[in-house]
């Protein structure tokens, strides 16, 4: 940017450089590189079947990250640490409502999305009306959700997924792809439409980059922020239902593993934690990237300790590609 008047010869080089700096391009290149590396390390890693399985796992993370993405885009340190708790709660509630019967799927979805939305609403009200910082509010809510899980788990069995739900998540549905992949693509299209083509979407960027200016321009900032948290809770609830379909049963705290990875997927997708810029398409690539990385590490023949060390170190190296803060200038 500091090169105010690039010479004609430098324009092409600059635009190539800009292309390389696009987070989604970086993520896609890294995904391709990791697939090649995986295939070299363990032949069959990049087979169609295997990639499909990775995409299912990535879809689960990606759906949670959709809500996380919205909250982060809205700025003012927006973050939702409670998503993991909502995923767990939703999985167990859905399992009990459907209890192995297809007839229970629709009621389960309605109930879970309502529950997720309710917790999002409480988060949103705390953040806007009471002006509690999002990190603190959602951290406190996570504690409540974890306690609620203990209560729920005590009173009722873990519950089973309906066959149709399991089929939707794990079996081919259309063009050889399972339903969850289509659902994820649908969510991707919905998010792209929402963020680029609707007033609501434009207002998200507006409050994320300059809340005061947005408020001056008549954007209902509080209402916007509450809706973002509600959407985050709803997406987490949907992910919880899908997770139940994936594993067949709900386990204690299955959702916990989505809390921080959902944030990392957003960051790897090119949405900085400061909000106001970025989008969901990158986040989808970020989710795939994270899942492939984890999967490669499980195929390498090292113990759990080594795997964690390599995973953490790789995350750090990858972060160097994305949104490093600006250097201090006088």
């Amino acid at each position: 940017m500091s090169a105010a008047e690039p010479g004609i010869g430098r324009t092409a080089a600059l635009s190539a450089e800009r292309l390389v700096r696009q987070p989604i391009i970086v993520a896609l290149a890294l995904i391709a590189a990791l697939l090649v590396a995986g295939e070299l390390l363990s032949p069959g890693f990049a087979s169609g079947e295997q990639i499909l399985r990775l995409l299912i796992v990535a879809a689960l993370l990606g759906i949670v990250a959709a809500g996380q993405n919205l909250v982060i885009l809205g700025g003012r340190e927006g973050i939702d640490l409670s998503v993991g708790g909502v995923v767990s709660l939703s999985a167990i509630v859905a399992g009990n409502i459907m209890n192995g019967a297809d007839a229970g799927i629709v009621p389960a979805i309605l109930a879970c999305v309502a529950i997720g939305g309710l917790f999002g609403l409480i988060n949103g009200v705390g953040v806007t009306l009471l002006r509690i910082p999002p990190l603190v509010m959602t951290l406190g809510m996570l504690g409540v959700l974890q306690g609620l899980l203990v209560v729920v788990r005590q009173g009722i069995p873990s519950g089973n997924a309906a066959p149709a739900l399991s089929g939707f998540v794990t079996q081919p549905f259309l063009l050889g792809l399972p339903g969850i992949i289509w659902l994820w693509i649908g969510i991707g299209a919905f998010m792209a439409f929402l963020l680029r083509r609707t007033v609501f979407g434009h207002r998200i960027y507006a409050i994320g980059s300059n809340e005061h200016a947005a408020a001056m321009a008549g954007v209902p900032v509080r209402l916007m922020r509450v809706s973002l948290f509600i959407l985050s809770g709803m997406f987490a609830a949907i992910a919880g239902i899908c997770l139940l379909g994936y594993s067949g049963q709900s386990f204690a705290n299955v959702g916990e593993q989505y809390m921080l990875p959902s944030i990392i997927a957003v960051v790897f997708g090119g949405t900085p934690l400061s909000g106001g810029k970025g989008g969901y398409t990158g986040t989808m690539a970020g989710a795939v990237l994270l899942v492939i990385l984890q999967s490669i590490l499980t195929t390498i023949n090292i113990d759990e300790a080594g795997r964690q060390i390599v995973f953490g170190a790789t995350l750090l190296v990858l972060m160097l590609f994305y949104g490093r803060g600006r250097a201090m200038r006088g």
């Binding site: 340190e77 973050i79 640490l81 705390g126 009471l130 002006r131 509690i132 910082p133 990190l135 603190v136 509010m137 951290l139 406190g140 809510m141 996570l142 504690g143 409540v144 959700l145 974890q146 306690g147 609620l148 203990v150 209560v151 005590q154 009173g155 921080l260 944030i263 990392i264 960051v267 900085p272 934690l273 113990d303 759990e304 300790a305 080594g306 795997r307 964690q308 060390i309 390599v310 995973f311 953490g312 170190a313 995350l315 750090l316 972060m319 160097l320 949104g323 490093r324 803060g325 600006r326 250097a327 201090m328 006088g330």
Partner: protein, 330 residues
């Protein structure tokens, strides 16, 4: 000094406002007293010297971990790896003491080695976050994975006991006074001395306004690295306490404590946005968490409801604390 602690725009003209500015932990202190009274009402024995000593010996680790977190929060940073550092130091000193035969000298050597390990982890975090300019939340999450991996490498499964001289000393008495009382007094003196150092002033200045701190000639990057280093040392001290309390090694012992350390910091009146706060508040915050847990038990909450009530109580305490200190500041 008051110029550094005051939040911009907050009117320090009213009497109450000035008191809160000087003692940001005042709301927490009131909550602490209320909790002590409630504990005493429901279980008179809980206010006995022995019971309070037990509370301190159980929660000294969380207090120190909250103090560790406070030093980075001063500078508007955050460290999600404190729990992992605690785990790493815990397993490291256990293995070291075992290798050296479990004598009193080996305990001493291991303690110093543990503090060194905490320091190294802290400096590593500082270089990653401040030096490489990565976002603290995601970067320290990545380093926490690395530290956990190293802890798992050192001790793959939990359960190796500490030498008896170690936990007998921690849980024992010296001249008829419980050993943890000496520790608590020593910690208080150390905290008092640290609070007077220039580093704390610099950390608060960086947290208050990084840009203006830089422009007035502060070494911002170096200050933040020092903050993380101090955080690592106190996480190690917390590990020494938890080792005395649990008397065994567990590579995952600190995992759940990270978010509690953040909650304790906020409960204590320290703003996550940096620039204002106190370690005394964080110590009180950790005690509040401990007293909430014991109160929920004393009022006879059914066991499966305890976590939920604890979670709700902490969420309410977080909210009330923030609301009260804001109102007082206006």
């Amino acid at each position: 000094m008051s110029g550094l602690v005051a939040q911009p725009g907050a009117g320090a003209h009213t009497g109450i406002g000035r008191i809160f500015e000087r003692f940001p932990f005042l709301p927490a202190f009131v909550i602490l007293i209320a909790l002590l009274v409630l504990n005493g009402l429901f279980e008179p024995n809980s206010l006995s010297f022995g019971a309070l000593t037990g509370l301190v010996s159980t929660y000294l680790a969380l207090m120190l971990l909250a103090v560790a977190q406070t030093y980075v929060v001063y500078a508007a940073d955050i460290d999600l790896s404190v729990g992992a550092i605690l785990s790493l130091v815990n397993v490291s000193i256990i293995v070291l003491m075992q290798l050296m035969g479990g004598s009193a000298l080996s305990v001493l050597v291991a303690c110093f080695a543990g503090i060194g390990i905490g320091l190294a982890c802290g400096i590593f975090n500082g270089i990653i976050v401040a030096g490489l300019r990565l976002q603290p939340i995601v970067a320290t999450f990545a380093t926490s994975i690395i530290f956990t991996g190293i802890a798992l490498y050192i001790m793959p499964v939990s359960g190796i006991p500490a030498p008896s001289v170690y936990w007998r000393t921690y849980g024992g008495r010296l001249f008829d006074v419980p050993f943890v009382i000496y520790l608590a007094v020593a910690v208080a003196v150390i905290l008092y001395v640290i609070a007077r150092t220039r580093l704390i002033t610099q950390l608060l200045a960086v947290g208050d306004n990084q840009q203006s701190a830089y422009q007035s000639g502060l070494p911002v990057t170096m200050t933040r690295i020092r903050g993380y280093a101090l955080c690592g040392v106190f996480a190690a001290l917390a590990a020494l306490c938890i080792t005395g309390d649990t008397a065994s090694g567990d590579p995952l012992v600190g995992g759940a404590m990270t978010l509690n350390s953040v909650a304790a910091v906020v409960l204590g009146g320290t703003a996550l946005s940096g620039g204002v706060g106190s370690v005394a508040g964080s110590v009180i915050g950790a005690l509040i968490i401990g007293l909430v847990n014991s109160l929920v038990f004393f009022v006879g909450t059914p066991s499966e409801w305890q976590n939920l009530v604890q979670g709700l109580a902490i969420l309410v305490a977080l909210t009330v604390g923030i609301l009260v200190s804001r109102r007082a500041g206006q």
